[in-house]
Subunit: 165 residues, 2 copies
DNA sequence: AAAGATTGAGTTATCAATCTTC
DNA sequence: GAAGATTGATAACTCAATCTTT
């Protein structure tokens, strides 16, 4: 994948209008830009995580655990927080457990629930990995102001998209 | 995947700051929100495309062809425009060709190049599919103003992320 | 019956390696 | 040798089906 020689989203916006989709041009361009940005960000993040033997999917799971008081969460709750299918969580925890970063433990009260518990090695690794990711994105040189605007608008779009019947 | 009972990005932003990552909170929250928005949008779009036997990846390829004058492009050029790996384009065209929506044709002057050419069936289908996608996103009720802001800021972030060494 | 987790099938993405043509 | 396309391996996600526990 090589660099583009033009602004892809401006081009997309222009194309939609040029082909008679004036009403939808703004929405389609927004969706397209988000899809494209995610591709680029994911690639960049995974590059920075590769030295740690992590992918973004597994990093997110570790980070989520590290943010809890006990470093432990039911698998189902992790899927809900990360908005991914239960199967994805099972898969991610399988790999993290194999690497010694997480352990599975039964829930004390509910026999159906499996807890993912951060190991010491996992706790150390997620901190180092976070530094690596931050290094990538602090180097982008975007103003906090703009970043907050992105969060606010994109989250609203995502929330609407998630709840539309 | 069930709905969330809280704002995931606001929560993420709060978490980052609460754990001492003040400097990186804005950047990490922006990246997280984009990743999450893409998940949700992709799911919603694929739902609307399922009746047409399309996925977003294949729809994008069709749409790209439909936007060209001749309805034909070299596979490599498609990969560059869509910012995906060459293998992904080969795979997408394989499936589209199998479904009779696209045909492969050799390039007149350069024997290395394979052209993807939109068929009549493909041209009809992509128009119908576009209506379906538009129906999803026009129902979001976001102002064009906000959507344009998303495009502008997100595209800038993506461009920076793509070019950072 | 319902909830939580797992498994298997099907898609798509990436990357490395290969093959053909320039 | 370099460019364009394909193939095979790996990873991740979704969905449907299944199993255990409540």
């Amino acid at each position: 994948v090589t660099a583009l020689d033009f602004d892809p989203t401006a081009e997309a916006r222009r194309q939609w209008s040029a082909h008679g989709w004036n009403d939808a041009a703004a929405g389609m361009a927004a969706v397209t830009s988000i899809m494209r940005a995610q591709q680029v960000c994911l690639r960049r993040v995974n590059e920075s995580l590769a030295p740690f033997g992590l992918t973004f999917a597994r990093y997110e799971a570790l980070r989520l655990l590290a943010f809890t008081r006990m470093g432990a969460l039911p698998l189902g709750k992790m899927g809900n927080r990360l908005q991914v299918n239960a199967g994805s969580i099972t898969n991610a925890i399988d790999r993290l457990e194999r690497d010694g970063l997480v352990e599975r433990r039964p829930h004390d009260d509910d026999g159906r629930v499996v807890l993912a518990v951060l190991t010491d090695a996992g706790r150390v690794l997620v901190e180092d990995a976070t530094v690596a990711i931050n290094n990538v994105f602090t180097s982008l040189g975007l103003a906090d102001n703009d970043l907050d605007t992105i969060v606010s608008l994109v989250a609203r779009l995502a929330e609407r998209a998630a709840t539309v019947t």
